[in-house]
């Protein structure tokens, strides 16, 4: 049996974190096939407002679905509700950890007045290499919009941690 449009779209990986699929990252919101079976509409939610990978994700979805036989592919954006790291699936978290990227803890609430967080934040990070929770924040920002840089004080290795949003 041919794979469904969802299966094809769900197998496309993130351009910046290629160990995780768009479905497991939680940015793939819906995939709908047209009645004639020739067209497909994909709904995608960007991670960050300025995420430079959004256009690449759209292109990669377009190409994967066309290669699988669909003639018309439309990729729509959905901004509400905004993406949250809570949308990353358990298999996605496992894939991140296996690749040396520390998966996020629970996302913080966003009340009406967002409290100031001054202290070096105690993230839920664990070293993805040795498993120690003796980790320290090196930089609040990292090589991609969604990660921060930490270092393990047990094995001394630096690693990326997906920021909770």
């Amino acid at each position: 049996m041919d794979p469904s449009a969802w299966d094809v779209a769900a197998s496309v990986v993130d351009p910046e974190l290629p160990m995780i699929t768009l479905a497991d990252l939680g940015v793939l919101r819906s995939v709908g096939e047209d009645d004639d079976g020739l067209g497909v509409t994909v709904t995608l939610t960007p991670t960050y407002s300025g995420c430079p990978a959004t256009a690449t994700m759209r292109d990669d979805l377009d190409h994967a679905l066309r290669a699988a036989g669909w003639e018309r592919v439309q990729v729509c954006l959905e901004l509400s509700p905004p993406w949250s790291t809570d949308d990353i699936t358990p298999p996605g978290r496992a894939a991140l950890a296996a690749a040396g990227v520390s998966p996020p803890g629970p996302a913080p609430a966003r009340p009406a007045a967002v409290p100031l967080r001054l202290a070096p934040t105690r993230y839920a990070a664990r070293c993805p290499r040795c498993g120690s929770d003796r980790v320290e924040l090196l930089s609040r920002f990292g090589p991609t919009a969604c990660t921060a840089i930490h270092r393990c004080r047990a094995c001394a290795e630096p690693f990326e941690h997906v920021k909770e949003v």
């Binding site: 960050y48 407002s49 300025g50 377009d62 954006l77 009406a112 967002v114 920002f141 919009a145």
Partner: protein
């Protein structure tokens, strides 16, 4: 990795584009920029004034665009590599917010779009947010003067960003329940981003204010120089004054700094100079496509 050149091939990049099979959408300005609101219902809800909604989106979008440009000037110049990356990430988030907000303004009221230079729309259509960013004169921008100020040093950068982000966070948090669902969604996505920018800047204000004699001296100088900017930001958004004052007071207490009181002066107008640089490539090559 190696690739074989074809005889007569002129551009070393030509094969790169072909190899990925990608269309040109994500390469740059003027090609086929992807619509930041693709697939969203951008009709204006009943009971909302489209022109007023567009002005509101322009004010928020222009402020993010202009400050994003200023912050991006720190690329390769920040005191540490990590902070260089931090500032670039802040600029990227702000640019993303600006694209959405400017696109939302143009969709609500196409009357905000400027007349394009001759030939600009030939070949490659100019995306609405690009038209607003690159082909409006400074008199039509609705950004704060604070956003356009040149940074004197790193202390100036973090004090300005802390104040600006504190105000913007309070404004965006309220806009999450805006009657326009598109603006509400853009605001909701921006809240965690701007909260992160504010907290990063706040941590640096604290570090510099309680650091060395020289870092404290520079922080005091920045607070003093930026006092009119703080007054301007609060004056533009009086409905968030109490909330912002609380956050600013909390940090300044811990940092041993005094919050500026009511100010008479206004910040310098540096927007024309900023736009002259930001718009120079688009204006010199209105038909540019690359």
């Amino acid at each position: 990795m190696s690739r074989t050149s074809e005889p007569g091939e002129e551009s070393v990049y030509a094969g790169l584009v072909d190899a990925t099979g990608a269309d040109a959408a994500h390469w740059a300005f003027g090609s086929r920029a992807e619509d930041p609101l693709a697939g969203l219902d951008t009709s204006v809800p009943d009971g909302l004034d489209a022109a007023e909604l567009a002005r509101e989106c322009l004010a928020l979008g222009d402020d993010a665009l202009v400050l994003g440009h200023r912050v991006s000037e720190w690329c390769s110049k920040a005191p540490e590599l990590e902070e260089d990356i931090a500032l670039a990430n802040v600029a990227l988030d702000l640019l993303g917010q600006a694209r959405r907000l400017l696109a939302r303004a143009a969709a609500a009221d196409p009357g905000v779009l400027p007349v394009l230079p001759e030939g600009a729309a030939v070949g490659a259509p100019v995306a609405p947010e690009d038209a607003l960013a690159f082909f409006r004169g400074p008199e039509r921008f609705r950004s704060s003067r604070t956003a356009a100020l040149t940074d004197a040093d790193f202390a100036h950068a973090v004090v300005r960003l802390f104040w600006w982000a504190s105000v913007r966070l309070a404004v965006l948090a309220r806009a999450r329940s805006h009657a326009d669902p598109v603006l509400a969604a853009i605001a909701a996505a921006g809240v965690p981003e701007v909260a992160y920018h504010r907290d990063w800047a706040a941590a640096w204000v604290l570090t510099l204010a309680r650091g060395t004699e020289e870092s404290r001296r520079r922080t005091l100088t920045a607070v003093d120089a930026l006092a009119p900017a703080y007054a301007e930001l609060l004056g533009r958004h009086p409905h968030v004054r109490a909330e912002v004052a609380e956050v600013v007071g909390e940090l300044f207490d811990r940092a041993g700094l005094e919050v500026p009181q009511a100010q008479d002066g206004v910040p310098r107008d540096e927007l024309p100079d900023l736009l002259a640089e930001m718009q120079s490539v688009a204006r010199a090559h209105p038909r540019g496509s690359w």
